[in-house]
Every structure is written in structure tokens, then in C-alpha cells.
């Protein structure tokens, strides 16, 4: 279905080398400690470690037993302990009297186009606590990628953290003095973006398959545990979700509504292939069994798993009035029926549907409306505290600080003109007019940005989700993700020219730097390979949207993120757990 003149997207570079580098370094570190040793690992490093070096590799290098770092070694422990931890105050308390070596493991390739730094706490640490601890690893990650796949010709970015990371990275490059040696780069451009540039997209319910699976089952380090309700057996199955999975790779970026159709078509095809056996003679049958059957069986297994997952998602989503929620979300995005949405959220809270979900909707309301009107701000919070517990007072404090749930400052709501108007009209009418003005006159940056960039597609007729027109398909055709739109616009314009107003609304901190030392050869494939860096996490919806954009424009996006995120993870990062 490629359009005439549309170029195929280039292949992504080989990121397997990142894994090999990390593994070699780990092995080197283990060998620095000759003899039998027990390895203590921080819980959240377990999965990444598993992707880098499995148990047998560890055993080969004299690792005797594996423990979580919190546990005490049992009897019969080795006399050497090796700890693998992130530099955090709370874990270092478990450990004393050690010599430290750094395992410079920054990058875990989750898929052929996704690299994760597996730093979920980046979001809270940086955006809430103002902790700059993780900027250094980001800069080092960029340095490593630049040295392996660069030199990057052009760097774009927006956000304070993006800027700092970029600058630190440049400093590191200057200090290291390693030259590109005129190597032909594999990645041409890099785009850095802070998560706080676009909270809206991350707060939306995801409806592309991969995003839904993440929202529903939580994808961890590129794999998911499908429970008994999916596997229709009594055990859970761990499934790696990536482009290697022939079934998954075809549906991951699809809107959920098309997935069922696709899966049933697929199963019919599969059945047909099985059915070919009927007319076969013995030799053909032999070939079939030896060559095709295994592949078919594998595909069959995956197919039934994904069908199971779909069913399970459907079950869960209908229970929670998924459609209603989506509808409310769309209204919030479009800025219509705010009152109604507010009531919807209120009911959501009153019914104790889910603390995380309620919070998410409140934040979405606040961020799209540039803050809640004082009355709602107070009442929704009160309701929330009553439903989910008083300790969330601290959660609200966090949300306010990070700017996800705020109150419109008094006085901001009325411009001079409006107050004049309200003086002319009497009480009730005035109230209504002010309400109406409220939604317009607020410094509602999202609304203004949305208008400037055309994030809400005008609807003429039904949006065909099977044949998407634009990136809005990842949200059912209702909204083009802001983050992705910015990237699209900047790449198209080769800079920020013409986006001055948007930049102002986004609070600036944009940059666009060409490395003059790098040869700019438009014929090179790398010119069409872009590293999109998300500081504070990116969602599968954004990944799907940019993959779509890449296909449209004949370019390839590589994702580097501090972690894969979604609305629930973001909310949980803000929730102040009971100590």
C-alpha cells in the first residue's frame, strides 16, 4: 500500500552490540573477583540482568547463588559477596565495607528499535525532587550511542533536562577527544524531549494493542506475564514481546478494534495451512511435518495467547466502563462538556473505581484545562481523600509541585474585558458567561498548543482505524499525541522556525544544533534514522505513533527512553505510599 515515491524506511542499526558490551563488562567485573561468590542483586535489576546475562553465564563465572539485595545470606554461603546495585542511598544501607566498581550498563535494547535505560525513578527524581543524579547516565548513554552509531549530525531538543543532558554530553565528548574517524554514521539525528513537555499524551488511556497490554498486564523489560485468565490453564506464561514474535509484531501498533479481526483472520489462515494436510501423500506429509509444522505450532501457540490476552482485556475493560472513560477523555482533550467530565470524575471517585485511575482523570482534567477551578480543586480532592485515604494529601502536594494537578490562580480567570462583561450582566447570567470565558481565557497552554498544532483532527465522517490517516489513530482518531507532533514538525522544518509561539507556550528551552564536523550527506541512509530520546519515560502509544510517522515519511525512529511508562506508572510515582 506504499504511496508512490514513498521510500521504505531504513533498517535500524544492530543494537545487539550494546548487550554484548554490557555482558562483557559484567563478566570482566566478575572475573576481577576470582573464586566462588554469591551475587546480590537489587530487585529492579533482576529483569534487565536476565536480558543481558542469564544464569548459566553467571555460573560460568563462579557465581554460586543469587540473592535479592535485601536478603541475608543463608548458611553455606560463599565467602565472597558481589553486589549489583543502583547507586541509591536506601540500598547502600544494606552494604558496608565494600570496594566499588562501576558496571557502566546504561542501555538495554528491548527491541530492534527500543533502548531503555531502565530508570523508572528518573521521572520522580528529576521532575518532582529536582534531583539531577540521572543526567550524567543519560549523557553517558548518548556518548556511547554516538560513538557506536554516530556521529549524530543534528541534535534537536526541548526541555530543561534535555538541554542539560545535551550540554553534559557535549562536554563529555570534548573531554574524551575520540574522533569519529570519518566513520559513516548509522544514526543521523537525535531528538531529546522532557516528559513534562507533554504530560497529556502519557495520561491518556492507551488503545493500541501494545499499549493496552502494558496498561492491563504491565510489560516488564520487554516481557509480560500472562496469567491463568489469559493462558486458560492454571499457570502463568512469560512471553517476550518484540519483533521476533511474528503474531505480536503484526498487531502491536494496531488500534485495539482491529486486532480481533486480524487475529481471527490469522487463525483462519493458520487453519487453512493445517488443512492442506488432507490432500497430501506420504512424502508431502513428511516434508510438512519436518519443515512447516513446528513453525505453525509456534505461531498457533502465540496466536492463542494473544487471543486470550484480548479476551481478558475486553473483560476487564467492559467492567470498568472503558467506553465511558474514553469518551470522557476525548471530551477533556477537545475541551467540550467540561462540567460533565468533572461529574464523571467525581462519580469515578465516589464509586472507588480505582485510586490510580481517578487520579489520572483528575490530572488529565487539570492539565488540559491548565488547572482546576478552585471549587472543583477543593471538592475533588476532598472526595478523593474520603474515598482513598487521607495520606493522599501528600500525593496532592506532589502533583501540585510537578504541575499535574493545580488550581487556577484567582484573577487569572478573568481578563479585563470579561470582568467588564460580567459587570454588565446580572448574577446568574454573569456566572454562566464567566464559566464560558473560563474555558477560553485561561492561560490554557494545552488548549492553545492543541489549536496551534492541530492536535484534534477535524472529523469528517468516521475515522477508519484500520487505515489510519495520521498519528491520531493511536487515540482512536481523537487526538494526535503532542510529543510526536512536535517531533514531526521540527524534523519537517529542520528546526524550530515557525514554531516560536508553540515553543513559548511550552516554556522554551528548545535547541537545534548541527555538528559542523559531521559530513552532511543527504544520500546517506542515516539521514533518515532518528534517535528519539524521552527523558522521564515514553509510552507505547507514542512509539506506535512515531513508527507510523516513520512508515509514512520513509524514516526510522529509534527510541531511547529512561523507562517505558504509562499513566499508571506516572501516577504511582507520585503517590505517597504509607510508610
Amino acid at each position: 500500500m506504499a504511496l508512490a515515491g514513498r521510500r521504505d524506511a531504513p533498517e535500524p542499526p544492530d543494537f545487539g552490540i550494546l548487550k554484548r558490551l554490557a555482558r562483557d563488562q559484567l563478566v570482566y567485573l566478575l572475573e576481577q573477583l576470582p573464586g566462588k561468590k554469591d551475587l546480590f542483586i537489587e530487585a529492579d535489576l533482576m529483569s534487565p540482568l536476565d536480558r543481558i546475562a542469564n544464569v548459566s553465564i553467571l555460573k560460568q563465572h563462579d557465581v554460586d547463588k543469587l540473592y535479592k539485595v535485601e536478603t541475608r545470606p543463608g548458611p553455606g554461603a560463599s565467602d565472597q559477596f558481589c553486589f549489583l546495585v543502583r547507586p541509591r542511598v536506601r540500598t547502600m544501607r544494606f552494604i558496608a565495607d565494600v570496594t566499588c566498581d562501576e558496571w557502566s550498563f546504561y542501555l538495554l535494547p528491548l527491541d530492534e528499535d527500543i533502548i531503555s535505560m531502565e530508570l523508572p525513578e528518573f521521572f520522580r527524581d528529576y521532575f518532582l525532587e529536582g534531583d539531577h543524579r540521572w543526567i550524567n547516565p543519560v549523557a553517558r548513554a548518548l556518548q556511547l550511542l554516538n560513538s557506536l552509531y554516530g556521529p549524530f549530525g543534528k541534535s534537536y531538543g526541548i526541555g530543561r533536562c534535555a538541554k542539560m543532558s545535551y550540554e553534559l554530553w557535549r562536554d563529555l565528548e570534548e573531554e574524551s577527544d575520540t574522533e569519529g574517524q570519518g566513520r559513516k554514521p548509522e544514526i543521523g539525528h537525535v531528538f531529546l524531549m522532557d516528559r513534562d513537555t507533554d504530560y497529556v499524551t502519557a495520561l491518556c488511556s492507551q488503545v493500541v494493542y501494545e499499549g493496552l497490554v502494558d496498561d492491563t498486564f504491565r510489560i516488564k523489560c520487554g516481557s509480560v506475564d500472562f496469567g491463568p485468565d489469559v493462558t486458560s490453564s492454571d499457570k502463568s506464561i512469560k512471553v517476550l514481546l518484540n519483533s521476533q514474535d511474528k503474531v505480536f509484531s503484526q498487531i502491536r501498533n494496531e488500534h485495539f478494534s482491529s486486532v480481533f479481526g486480524f487475529l481471527s483472520q490469522k487463525s483462519r489462515n493458520l487453519q487453512a495451512q493445517y488443512d492442506r494436510r488432507r490432500g497430501m501423500d506420504i512424502k508431502q506429509m513428511k516434508d510438512f511435518v519436518s519443515q512447516e509444522l513446528k513453525g505453525l505450532k509456534q505461531e498457533h501457540r502465540l496466536l492463542s495467547l494473544h487471543i486470550g490476552a484480548c479476551e481478558s482485556i475486553m473483560k476487564k475493560k467492559t467492567k470498568q466502563d472503558f467506553q465511558e472513560t474514553i469518551k470522557a477523555e476525548h471530551s477533556l482533550l477537545e475541551g467540550f462538556d467540561i462540567r460533565e467530565s468533572t461529574s464523571f470524575i467525581e462519580e469515578h471517585i465516589d464509586r472507588q473505581v480505582s485510586p490510580v485511575e481517578s487520579l489520572r482523570l483528575m490530572c488529565l482534567l487539570s492539565i488540559t484545562e491548565n488547572g482546576l477551578v478552585p471549587k472543583d480543586y477543593r471538592s475533588l480532592k476532598t472526595q478523593y481523600l474520603q474515598s482513598y485515604g487521607p495520606e493522599h494529601l501528600l500525593t496532592f502536594h506532589n502533583l501540585k509541585r510537578i504541575g499535574l494537578l493545580t488550581e487556577q490562580a484567582a484573577g487569572e480567570t478573568l481578563t479585563a474585558v470579561e470582568s467588564k462583561v460580567s459587570k454588565l450582566v446580572t448574577d446568574r447570567a454573569a456566572g454562566k458567561i464567566t464559566d464560558a470565558f473560563n474555558s477560553l481565557a485561561r492561560k490554557s497552554n494545552f488548549r492553545a498548543i492543541s489549536k496551534k498544532l492541530g492536535l484534534i483532527p477535524r472529523l469528517d465522517g468516521e475515522y477508519d482505524l484500520k487505515m489510519p490517516r495520521d498519528m491520531a489513530y493511536v487515540f482512536g482518531g481523537a487526538y494526535v499525541p503532542l510529543s510526536c507532533k512536535i517531533i514531526e514538525q521540527v524534523l519537517e522544518r529542520r528546526g524550530w522556525q515557525g514554531l516560536e509561539e508553540v515553543v513559548r507556550l511550552l516554556n522554551g528551552n528548545e535547541f537545534c544544533v548541527s555538528d559542523s564536523a559531521v559530513e552532511d550527506n543527504p544520500a546517506w541512509e542515516c539521514q533518515r534514522v532518528i534517535l528519539a530520546v524521552f527523558l522521564g519515560g515514553c509510552t507505547f502509544s507514542e512509539i506506535a505513533a512515531l513508527r507510523f510517522l516513520g512508515k509514512e515519511r520513509g524514516c526510522k525512529f529509534i527510541f531511547l527512553t529512561t523507562a517505558i511508562t504509562n499513566s499508571a506508572r506516572m501516577m504511582e510515582a507520585m503517590i505517597e505510599a504509607k510508610a
Binding site: D131, E347, R378, Q383, S387, P390, H397
Partner: protein, 807 residues
């Protein structure tokens, strides 16, 4: 006269104006053409008034530095591998000087040596570094294998030793150091534990032993025996052997005589005009006297081949050919043809190149290289590297052999020493321009070459106290600019170590990597500046380091003040406190009257309390802070929570059931679940729970409890603020269709179809849908119709829909 070479090589004529005989001085010359240290008159003249002079000369006899010797009685001088001078005193103190007579440090060889005094001493070199061996007045040996990692060892007593042995030396083999000594007619080997006889009946001359660094002769085996025929013992005896040579020779020196003895029965004798001093080298012996400095060595094979009289070796022929060629004689062709007929031209070229390396005379070097170059013309694909390399090496060697520089390295020594060490030695002699020119000439990478030397120069420069800080800093920056690999912080550290803090700070300004500036700034107690730099570097570990440093250095108040001005550091410190020191966090917030955060901390602390009283107290504190912060909402919410807590305590006591940790909603729900409707009602009023919430909450709880009667009663108590669909939904959720049906008719028309579908009454649903003429609703009902049982109904719906569409 070219065409002839001899084993004696005049290196320099010494113009050091030495009036004394060498035998009247304590002398030490460092190997590899190193400097010469001299202390005149030390032993003879014991009058305390005459202070002897310690002098250091280059190998060419130029005075590098001198200093009056003020310390104790000097016994021995020796050089370390790094060209530091070791002065061993009678009391066992060893003073270390650099080659500019600047005192560096001193160490002692121990109490035993102190008490019994040093009788004799030797400095030796092993793979571990430079060592010192002492023979004390008590005739015991003490040694330290590495003076940089001083571990003193006292060797066992030598049985029967009554007087100092006529000669002894230190041997290092297989990482063990031992002393070899002669006593009477026997040769002894003294190691850590014992003293064993190595050779008996050593002959009646047992007085000299020479040991080469690499002992290739098996232990205890006699390598050769030679009768010198001289009664007096030689003054010195050293090996004179070229590496990889089959010949092995020893040079012995008497007052006026030199003898070379090898493994043949012959010996060569030379008459000495002056008293001389032997310096063993890797490939020969340097012979030092008052007026001259010579080098005695075995002529290398390549040179012999070429310069032997009437030699027909390919190299010799090639040299001839080239000479004839220059004379434009046709003999050139004859010689050349002779070599080429034997197909030895590559060898000939190789020989000439190699021999050039052994020559000290530039003219001879040139003619050999010219010959090689000439020969190369007749060869295809002769690799040029060897020739080029040799030209370069010779330029370097000629430059450093110059009288002014005075490092008479041979090619062999130079290769063994390596260019890096040679550069180090030039730097030690402060010959920075020459070192830099060599680096540039050899095109060494900047990091190992020019940058490193400039850095050394700068470190020397900062010690020049006659120049102002400003001048020095500028001079350094002018020369160094931003040369790659220069660490301004290292130079600054040196400046600081020399007591020039201001200069250090000026130099740090030039350091582009802010992180590098931090350690020195901390050392200089400029912690606040260090903090700024650490933040600039983006390395948070470094920021932590400085913050914790500041914490110890400053009092609490100014520590906090400092942090207030540095938000990055402040937030890092807060993170640290959050995990490690909550109390400090409170102080931090107190300092800048951040009542909001203080309130939050109290709330957080409150939830750690298991007892209600504790929690209430904490919340009470929080409440005060929230009021101060003018955060009415938080204050109100906290007040409510205190109220709830008190009530929960009451409920717990009364109903004997845990209520703590429940939200208001859950508290009320639990009460209803347990049938305490009155109390629930009370809470609903007391806490002004919104109607909608209360209704949702109550019907859910009642349904869970299965109290359908109460639910019905409740539904009729007043008009439901949430409508009646929720009643239907809740009942269906609890699988009670019967109850659900009761409420369906009360659902308003716009939701009624949904309600009937929920309870499974498709008839009524269809009815309602048709009545409302709503196509979507009809479709909804239709989708629920099963073809078997609801055929008629489906037909009716289809008809109604068709009719609707017709309009």
C-alpha cells in the same frame, strides 16, 4: 679517518676542572649515560670546618648543581633508577637528592645500622626498583630491596667473619636478593635464612667478584679462571659484554692499569694515564677520569664486518661502492655487481643501517646511511621503515650526546631505555625545549609527548618564586593553551603544594573540566567554590562528596545557607536526608520557614505511628504547620482526619474491630456492612459526605451484605441522587436479577433500555426501545436476542427498525 673503528670511544673530554684525584672523592655515576655525583675530600680531611662540596655533573662534565655537604659522614653515593641521588651516611641515614642537588627526603636503614655504623654500602637495581645494602660495623648485612617501599631486612650472621670481606656484591635472582661475599678462600652466598658456601678453594686471590645483571652462567659453575699476575687487588671489576654476544668479558681496573679478561686465556692490557672510575653499562664500560670520558665496548658484529681491513662482507662492499660512485668511478658498478651476484644487497643495506647506529661520529653515520640509501636504489620493495627509523634515532641520539646536554647513550642503551624514559630524563634535567622538539620530530602522540612535557614544564614553572602569580599563570596558559591531555588541576595541585594557593586558583580557572577542579578546591578549603564546580560538572557523586565535606566543615547554619543558594545540591541533600536523616530534613525546612513541607513531614511521620494517639499528635503538629503555611485545604483535611481518627478509636473500642487505616468511605462502608446503619448515618452527617457518594457507597455495601430489604427501604427513603440504574447494576453485579428487576421500571426512560437489558428482560427492553424510536437501542437489544428463543422478538424489532429507517 673512516673505515676503521675501535673498542675505545672518546665520549667527552672532561672540563670539570677537577684538581683532586678521583680516588680522593666519593664518586657515583648513573648508568645509561647518567649524571655524575662527586663529593671531594670526604674521608681524608676530617676537620669539621672544611665543608666538602657535593657536586653533580653531566656526563660531559658540565656542572649541573652543587651544594655544601652539611650532613653527617658520607660513606657511599649511588643513583636510583629514576636518577635520584642516594647519599648514605655513616649512621645509616640515607638522604635523597634530585639531580639539581635539591633535597627530597631521607630515610633510615634501621637501629642496628645506627648503632654499629655503616662500614660499606652498595646501591643496586632489581626489577622491584632501587635497593640499598649495608655492611655494618658489626659485620652484618642489612638491606632494603626497594627504597620506595622500604622494608628493612637484616641478613643472618656470616659464620667466622672476623673482618670486612675483601669484596661483596648484591645479587637478585628469582625475586630473591642475596649477598655474595668472599672470605678467605671461599665464596659465600648469604640469603634471608642462611649462609652457604658456594665455592671452596677459590684460589688465593679471592678478592673480586663481578656479577652481571643477567647471570647466564649456572650457579656455582666456574666460568673461567684467569691469573692476572698482579699482586694487588683491582680497584674495580665490572662486566663488559654486549647483549646477545657470544663474547663475555670483565674489565678490571688498577691505579694505572686496565685489563680486559674474557673466556680465552688471553687478556688485553691498557695503561691508564690517570686514575679512572668504571661505570658499567648494558653494552660496555664507561671509563671516567679527570680529563676524559671514554667508552670501552666490544665492537658489534655489523661494524666489524664493514670496517675490518679488507673485508669482503656485503656491507663493506656497499660502502666502497658508494664511495666510488661519489668519485664517479666505475668501480662502483663492480662492487655493486659483486654484491648483487651473491644476491646479498638486502643484507648489505641492512648491515650499513645497523652499523650506522653504532657509530658516534656523525660523519661516519652519514657515510653508512648514504651507502644504505645508495644500495636501496637497486632494490625493489625494500621496506623503508628501518632506514627512516634509524635516521630519526640517530638525530635524537646526536642531539642528546651533544656536549651541552651530555647524555652519551649508545644505540643499544637507547633502545633498551625507550624514548619515553629518555624524554622523562630530559624533563628531569629541565631540558623542556629539546624534549618537545624530539616529540615533534618523532611525531609522538600529544598525550605522551608534547602535552606531557608541557605539563612537567608548568609544574616546574609554578615553583619559580621570583615571578608573580599573575605572570606565572599567564605564561603557563600562553604555552599550554588548551593542548589536549593537559591537566591544569594537576599543575594547580603542584602550585598549591608549593604554597601558592592564589596561583593554584588562577590555574584552576583554565581547567575546562569543572569536575577536575573539585578535589583540589576541597583540599584548599574552598569548599563553596568546589560546590559550584561540582554542580557545573554534572557529576552528582561529586556534588555529594562536596556536600558531605561542607557538612563537616561548616556549622549547621552556614551549611544550610550555602545549600539554599545551590538548588541542585540542596535537592540532592534532601534526597539523602529523606533516606538517612529525617530530622535534618526538618531542620532544613525550618531554616527557610517552609511550613508546607514541615507539615508534610509530620503527616508522613504520623503514618509511621501504629498507635492512634501518636498519629493524632503528629497530625496535630502538621495542622499547626499547615495553618502557618496558609494552606487552608490541607489544614481542613488534616482536621477532618484527626476527627476521623478519634472516631475510629472510639469505634475500635466499642465494636472490637480494626478501623484504623480505613478511609472515611471505607469506614462508613464497613459500618454498613456490619449493619450499623445508625452510626453510618451519623458519619454521613458529621463529615458532610456528599449524597451521591453516600448513595453509591450504601447500595454497594448493602448488596455485598445481601441486605436487599434494607436496600429497597433505602431506595424509597427519598429520591435517589444517583438515579436507579445503579441499583439495577449493583443487583446484577451480585447476581440477583430478581431484585434488579424491581428497580428497572424506576429508571428514567433514557436509561431504561439499558436497565432492562441488564436484568435480561428483553421483551420490556424491546418495548422501551420501540417506544423511544431509538435505533441504537433497538440494535443493542437485537444483539442480545438469540435466534432460537427470541425469534419473534427479533422480528418485531427488525420491523420497527425498518420502519424507523424508512422515514
Amino acid at each position: 679517518q673512516t673505515g676503521y673503528t675501535e673498542p675505545w670511544l672518546e665520549l667527552y673530554s672532561m672540563e670539570w676542572g677537577l684538581r683532586e684525584d678521583l680516588r680522593d672523592c666519593v664518586v657515583a655515576a648513573a648508568p645509561y649515560g647518567g649524571p655524575i655525583a662527586l663529593l671531594r675530600n670526604s674521608r681524608r680531611d676530617k676537620t669539621p670546618s672544611a665543608r666538602p662540596l657535593l657536586e653533580i655533573y653531566s656526563a660531559s662534565g658540565l656542572l649541573l648543581a652543587s651544594v655544601p655537604w652539611k650532613s653527617g659522614q658520607l660513606v657511599h653515593l649511588g643513583w636510583t633508577a629514576g636518577e635520584d641521588l642516594l647519599c648514605i651516611q655513616e649512621d645509616g641515614t640515607v638522604l635523597v637528592y634530585n639531580l639539581f642537588c635539591e633535597f627530597k627526603r631521607h630515610f633510615s636503614m634501621g637501629n642496628e645500622v645506627l648503632q654499629n655504623h655503616v662500614l660499606e654500602a652498595q646501591v643496586f637495581h632489581t626489577e622491584f626498583g632501587t635497593g640499598v645494602a649495608i655492611l655494618t660495623g658489626a659485620l652484618r648485612f642489612s638491606l632494603a630491596t626497594n627504597i620506595d617501599d622500604l622494608k628493612l631486612r637484616r641478613l643472618p650472621e656470616v659464620p667466622g667473619l672476623q673482618k670486612p670481606p675483601p669484596c661483596w656484591t648484591v645479587l637478585a635472582q628469582d625475586r630473591v636478593t642475596m649477598v655474595l661475599l668472599a672470605m678467605g678462600q671461599e665464596l659465600f652466598l648469604l640469603d634471608n635464612t642462611s649462609c652457604s658456601v658456594l665455592v671452596r678453594h677459590f684460589g688465593n686471590l679471592g678478592w673480586a667478584c663481578a656479577v652481571s645483571a643477567v647471570t647466564t652462567v649456572p650457579w656455582g659453575e666456574k666460568f673461567c679462571e684467569f691469573n692476572t699476575g698482579i699482586r694487588s687487588p683491582p680497584k674495580q671489576m665490572v662486566w663488559c659484554t654486549r647483549p646477545r654476544s657470544r663474547q663475555r668479558a670483565v674489565v678490571l681496573a688498577w691505579e694505572r692499569q686496565l685489563m680486559v679478561v674474557g673466556n680465552s686465556s688471553e687478556s688485553i692490557r691498557f695503561v691508564l694515564d690517570e686514575d679512572s672510575y668504571l661505570v658499567p653499562e648494558l653494552d660496555g664500560v664507561r671509563i671516567l677520569s679527570r680529563s676524559s670520558h671514554e667508552f670501552l665496548h666490544e665492537i658489534p658484529e655489523a661494524s666489524q664486518e664493514i670496517f675490518r681491513i679488507a673485508s669482503m662482507a656485503p656491507g663493506a662492499l656497499l660502502l666502497e661502492a658508494q664511495k666510488e660512485y661519489e668519485k664517479e668511478s666505475q668501480k662502483a658498478d663492480e662492487y655493486l655487481r659483486e654484491i648483487r651476484e651473491q644476491q646479498l644487497l638486502p643484507e648489505a643495506v641492512g648491515q650499513c643501517i645497523e652499523a650506522a647506529g653504532y657509530e658516534h661520529e656523525p660523519d661516519t653515520q652519514k657515510s653508512l646511511l648514504r651507502a644504505a640509501s645508495f644500495g636501496k636504489c637497486f632494490l625493489d620493495k625494500f621496506p623503508p621503515e628501518g632506514f627512516v627509523r634509524m635516521c630519526q634515532d640517530l638525530r635524537v641520539l646526536n642531539a642528546i650526546r651533544d656536549y651541552q646536554i651530555g647524555i652519551p647513550l649508545t644505540f643499544t642503551q637507547y633502545k633498551q631505555l625507550t624514548i619515553e624514559v629518555l624524554l622523562d630524563r630530559l624533563v628531569l634535567r629541565r631540558l623542556y625545549p629539546l624534549a618537545i622538539r624530539i616529540c615533534e620530530f618523532l611525531r609522538l602522540p600529544e598525550m605522551q609527548g608534547v602535552s606531557r612535557i608541557l605539563a612537567h614544564w608548568a609544574c616546574y614553572k609554578v615553583q619559580q618564586k621570583d615571578k608573580s602569580d599573575e605572570e606565572v599563570a599567564q605564561a603557563i596558559n600562553q604555552k599550554l593553551g588548551d593542548t589536549a591531555g593537559i591537566s591544569y588541576s594537576d599543575i594547580a595541585t603542584r602550585a598549591y603544594d608549593c604554597g601558592r594557593a592564589e596561583l593554584a586558583i588562577k590555574l584552576l580557572e583554565y581547567e575546562p573540566r569543572s569536575g577536575e577542579q573539585v578535589p583540589l578546591l576541597l583540599k584548599m578549603k574552598r569548599s563553596k567554590l568546589a560546590l559550584g564546580k561540582a554542580i557545573e560538572s554534572g557529576d552528582t557523586d561529586l556534588v555529594y562528596t562536596v556536600v558531605l565535606h561542607l557538612k563537616n566543615e561548616l556549622n549547621r547554619g552556614s551549611f544550610f545557607m550555602t545549600l539554599q543558594n545551590q538548588p541542585v545540591a540542596l535537592s540532592l541533600y534532601r534526597q539523602f536526608c529523606r533516606h538517612q536523616e529525617r530530622e535534618t530534613l526538618k531542620d532544613l525546612y525550618n531554616q527557610d520557614d517552609n511550613h508546607q513541607e514541615l507539615g508534610n513531614l509530620h503527616v508522613l511521620g504520623g503514618y509511621c505511628q501504629r498507635r492512634i494517639e501518636g498519629r493524632v499528635a503528629a497530625l496535630q503538629n502538621a495542622l499547626d504547620e499547615f495553618y502557618k503555611a496558609k494552606n487552608d485545604f490541607a489544614a481542613k483535611a488534616t482536621e477532618e482526619q484527626i476527627k476521623l481518627l478519634r472516631l475510629q478509636r472510639h469505634l475500635q473500642e466499642e465494636l472490637d474491630k480494626p478501623y484504623l487505616d480505613l478511609s472515611l468511605h471505607d469506614t462508613v462502608a464497613t459500618l454498613i456492612l456490619d449493619g450499623h446503619h445508625k452510626r453510618a448515618e451519623q458519619l454521613y452527617r458529621d463529615f458532610r459526605i456528599p449524597d451521591k457518594r453516600y448513595w453509591w457507597l450504601k447500595i454497594n455495601a448493602l448488596a455485598t451484605r445481601g441486605d436487599w430489604e434494607e436496600m429497597e427501604k433505602f431506595s424509597k427513603s427519598k429520591k435517589s441522587p444517583i438515579g436507579y440504574l445503579p441499583f439495577v447494576e449493583v443487583a446484577v453485579k451480585h447476581h440477583n436479577r430478581y431484585e434488579a428487576k424491581k428497580y428497572a421500571p424506576r429508571v428514567p426512560p433514557e436509561q431504561r433500555v439499558k436497565a432492562f437489558v441488564l436484568v435480561g428482560d428483553l421483551e420490556q427492553a424491546a418495548e422501551a426501545a420501540i417506544e423511544r424510536k431509538n435505533e441504537a437501542e433497538m440494535s443493542l437489544v437485537l444483539s442480545r436476542c438469540s435466534p432460537g428463543t427470541d425469534g419473534a422478538l427479533a422480528e418485531r424489532l427488525n420491523r420497527a427498525r425498518a420502519q424507523l429507517l424508512k422515514k
